[in-house]
Assembly symmetry: C2
Homo-oligomer: 149 residues x 2
DNA sequence: ATATAAATGCAATAGTATTGCATTTATGAT
DNA sequence: ATCATAAATGCAATACTATTGCATTTATAT
């Protein structure tokens, strides 16, 4: 198991407390939903699942505040849609530390957070990189099994 | 000069011929505009510059066909908006070969194509990567000069 | 229990991108 | 040079993603 496993001990209420956020049922539901799967989930998917319980705008606001606070990190896919995954515990309001590689399956479109850190890359003279984002595109574990059948 | 320099010998009509595309004034204008600068240009910027001469929809269609044909490559920025740059000469309809690193300035938002190739990264068991996209975020050459003044 | 600030829901609006169809244009054949 | 044809364009409509303003509801501290 090389890709990041889901944190089974995720406790939405506690996360909200730690970041001094009011714990509303909407905020708790979003965290519950995202914690369900090990792969990142897109805003459209979240809206499909939660749209009956939570207003679109509220969902956007919750996702934004979770990103700001370092609770979730956002991964853009090839189509420019936002995907979200739980941050590593070291992320804070000031700075994210999610410098792992992502894998975007071109078959099922799922985005995996891999336990692979990016090697240091030397920037040209004058360019100062603060963060790097790397996404690999290809066929994921599950899809390659399906194809081979 | 570490970042990729603009190809001064760019000839829109010839590029269209090479890809057996009809050479319309709209298609030529798009190539001319993108060839003007060494940094990638976003769809909104292109629309601002060409919106009077070219219909929005036509612009989208031209950008899509240029990407399909391997004439341009598309780089998504943090906000999910498309940016375009001329492809290396080895790109074709079947496959892009633009595996260089991009630099997205968080100050001026410009996206640079760097002459930096991505080191090979080992994927976890079961995951097969066909392509990799890497973007560094930070302060670019020009902006760091400005800040230091 | 109550006051207060914050979060939510709803309507409106903005930004990005695609589809359908009538009209125009580029290109090859005559 | 003219014409026929398929392709490209422009325009209207539509879809999808995201944000803003404001009235109402809710969480939390007192
Ligand atoms: Mn991740
Ligand atoms: Mn590039
Ligand atoms: Zn897959
Ligand atoms: Zn800059």
């Amino acid at each position: 198991m090389q890709n990041q496993s889901n944190n089974m001990t995720i406790d939405p209420v506690n996360i909200l407390k730690e970041h001094s956020l009011k714990h509303t049922k909407q905020r708790i539901r979003v965290l519950e939903e995202i914690a369900l799967d090990t792969v990142a989930i897109s805003q459209p998917e979240l809206e499909k699942k939660l749209g009956k319980e939570i207003d679109r705008v509220t969902l956007y606001r919750i996702l934004n505040i979770y990103e700001d606070k370092g609770i979730l990190h956002r991964i853009m896919d090839m189509n420019g849609t936002a995907n979200y995954a739980i941050c590593s515990s070291s992320c804070s309001e000031d700075h994210h530390h999610d410098e792992h590689v992502h894998f975007n399956c071109t078959n099922c479109t799922k985005i995996y957070c891999l336990d692979v850190v990016l090697p240091q890359i030397k920037m040209p003279q004058g360019f100062t990189a603060a963060t790097m984002h790397t996404t690999a595109y290809g066929i994921c574990e599950k899809c390659s099994v399906m194809v081979s059948k």
